[in-house]
Amino acid sequence: MNGLVWKDTTLLRNGLIYVAVFGVVFSLLFSESNVMGIVCPMLFSSLVASSFAWDDQCKWDVYAVSTGIPRNRIVLSKYLSSIVFITIGFAIGLAVSVAMPYVTGADTDPASAAIVSVTGWVLSAIVVSISILVNYWTGSSVKAQYVSIVVLMASIAFLVSATIIASDLVGGNMLLVTGILLVIAALMFAGTYRLSCARFAKRDL
């Protein structure tokens, strides 16, 4: 399992760096530090799709399954890799959110930045669970990749909008909203994992 996660992070090392640099530059341009708590994990959540692309490029799954690595373990490794990616995004987003006000001279609120960053992590967890399921459901064809992008964009837009609306409904209590989202993320992980395993179990490689 560790090897499969190590494989994804090693192959995407350059991608991790590029996304991190992009995130920092983005925050400098827009000077909206707290937003980075949401944007950074979301950016890093896109890397899981890249990990599928790497696997498909060399048909790695053929080798992995052929040597006896259980298909369920391969699916689980994608979820674990995605947690690694969004956690890195969370850490960078939180660091930028806390550090930016000192650069721009704005008021700082580390607690608010932390809550927003945690919310960003949880939203990203929901997005990657959808992304992983879509990848296993649609496959690796070009058409499937477009479907995957459309589904992801729609999911992100829906989730961010829903979070803002929910926050307004509960009088700005982000802790409550984040807690509800965390439960949803856990259920999404479990549900999409089972569906992904079921789909992958029937696929000819």
């Binding site: 090897g3 192959l11 790497w54 048909k59 080798y63 052929s66 040597t67 006896g68 490689l205």
Partner: protein, 283 residues
Amino acid sequence: MDNAVEIRGLCKSFGSFGIRDLDLDIPRGYVVGLIGENGAGKTTLIKCITGANIPDSGEVRLFGSQERDGSEGRLGVVFDECHFFQQMNGEQIGKLMSSLFANWDDARYRTLMNDFGIPLDKRIKDYSRGMRMRIQVAVALSHSPDLVIMDEATAGMDPAARDEFLDLVMEYMQDEGHTVLMSSHITSDLERIADYIVFIHQGRIVMNGPKDEILESYGIVKGGESAVLAVGRENIVSVKRDQFSTSALVRDRRGVAEAYPELVVDPASLDDIMVMVIRGDAE
């Protein structure tokens, strides 16, 4: 006999192409050669054995069990296409494999890579075709698998590299518990090292037996059409007619030679058998 692989009634189709009702045992401790024309179903059979393809019906037992869980590392594979990441180098591949296989022998891997002349810091995207095969072989032999499956592993190798590769296979087979299933178009390799031969033609097994028996019993009868056909349909596997003569593949060349001393009956190599079955007419 203890079998590494047992297959019963295996069917797998991809549209109009597929394998049908295959029954096959791969005995433990032997080298089994798999031959057949392009598109015969060799790779499909191999992928059904490894679990990469899901059979439509039938049963595949690996080491006595249909369950694949718990078998990681017991199977080593070498494919004609390298499935390792192009951006990785040999060192990283070794590190990846060490985390996947409990029995990974890093010293053996490094020794093999050194013997194959592959630098560990070279990326796979810069490998030649032969090097891509060799790294697969190095990986396959470095995690002590009980069964090694090779699908056209020697394709693209020069004769010296093939000779070295076959020596490695024989060294691997020193352990009586090890088994090799090897598909190849280079039948001379199989004639050298295989104990059993399985011939797949149009999705079905048409021949399956000890190599020595096959080479000892099959023969090619050549001559005029009437003389060749006179040996009888019960003796003839297939007939190939060309402009000047007729050839027939017979099952019992010694028997035919005794019964028809006027006919020329030559021993048939695996190549001859393949050509006669694929291009000849079944009788």
